[in-house]
Amino acid sequence: MNKLRHALMVLLVIGVSACEREHRDLRQDPPVSAALESVATMPNGIAGAPPDVYSALNKPFASNAYSLNQGKQLYSWFNCKGCHADGGGAAGPAFLDGWWRYGPGLVSIFASIRDGRPAGMPAFKDRMTTDQIWELAGYVQTIGAYSGKTAAPSRNDEMQSRPSENRAPATVSVNDP
């Protein structure tokens, strides 16, 4: 009998994780968004700890398909392509090569977007809401990922410049023909 219960437990775990990835959380309560603002960055502003409400929400911005997809939309809406191209880098640094000048953590990407960085990265503090910055940060992290997440977005209906995020690692296949 416990074999059956064991199997049910496994199915439940798979089910819950699928649930998290596919859930459409359309509205974030204002207090939660405000709480998401308080990121404790290190003195040099590189890494840091996310607010504890982030893990209470079960880390949606790194694993929820809908929020990653919204992040990709924001990437093109706020003209990140202007400096970073499709992740290959132009005036701004590349994300594809997986080398993160300010650290690969989601918090450092969040801090880079929100407060800007010295060498020309503008601060989007007043240009985007906190949820949008988190979604964009979660998406940017998938560009340089070494293994494709299940929730990672697929290609856009645009000209193809590199393999999409769900076919990571993009770096390897970008170099050969």
Binding site: R155, Q160, P163, P177
Partner: protein, 200 residues
């Protein structure tokens, strides 16, 4: 209801061959089904061709040597294929065993040539729609070669076991021969599509 016997069936053979064998009709039905899938893929190829301002899109036409070697190889394999069909109809176990070995080799060879074909396409499946339909057409046909070769190998091994001398297995060989003809014949329009339409 009361029954009145009007017909005796015990004189009939225990297994029909050719058009009396249900498995032959089943193979025909599956050929019709897969044939319509191939026709649709060629339809997509021509649909995208008509839409594209320039065809092939952003790529050189595929290098034709590998594809032509494949076509010659497949057409050549029709001869032993026909012989195996005739031997199986004559229930000649020894020759059928030999024939199955030959057909297995002549099934694996195209798969090897197909690797070179994929490399001579000059385009990746994710480069553009032209590349996508090219890889879909070639991939679909390769899958059919692979499944038929697997069928030939299993049937070939079976002919060497005690089950080989059963006329039912000879019927299966006939169906396999029929299906290989289908795999070869569907390759011709695909070959023309992939290698020669871009050069028209």
């Amino acid at each position: 209801m009361k029954e009145r016997v009007v017909m005796q069936l015990d004189a009939l053979p225990m297994h029909g061959r050719g058009s009396d064998s249900p498995t032959m009709w089943g193979t025909l039905a599956f050929m019709l089904l897969e044939g319509s899938a191939f026709a649709l893929c060629i339809g997509i190829y021509l649909y995208l061709l008509v839409l594209a301002p320039q065809w092939p899109i952003g790529a050189l036409p595929p290098r034709w040597p590998a594809g032509t070697v494949m076509t010659v190889l497949l057409l050549a394999s029709l001869v032993p294929n026909y012989l195996v069909g005739r031997w199986s109809r004559e229930n000649d176990l020894a020759r059928v065993r030999l024939g199955m070995v030959i057909m297995s080799v002549l099934g694996i060879a195209p798969l090897i040539v197909r690797v070179f074909e994929f490399r001579s396409l000059n385009v990746w499946w994710d480069t553009n729609a032209y590349g996508s339909i090219l890889w879909l057409l070639l991939g679909l046909h390769s899958m059919h070669i692979a499944t038929d070769v697997a069928d030939t190998l299993v049937l070939g091994v079976m002919m060497f076991t005690r089950h080989g001398s059963n006329s039912r297995r000879m019927g299966d060989v006939e169906d396999n021969v029929l299906y290989w003809n289908f795999v070869v014949l569907t390759w011709l329009p695909i070959y023309f599509c992939i290698y020669w339409i871009p050069r028209l």
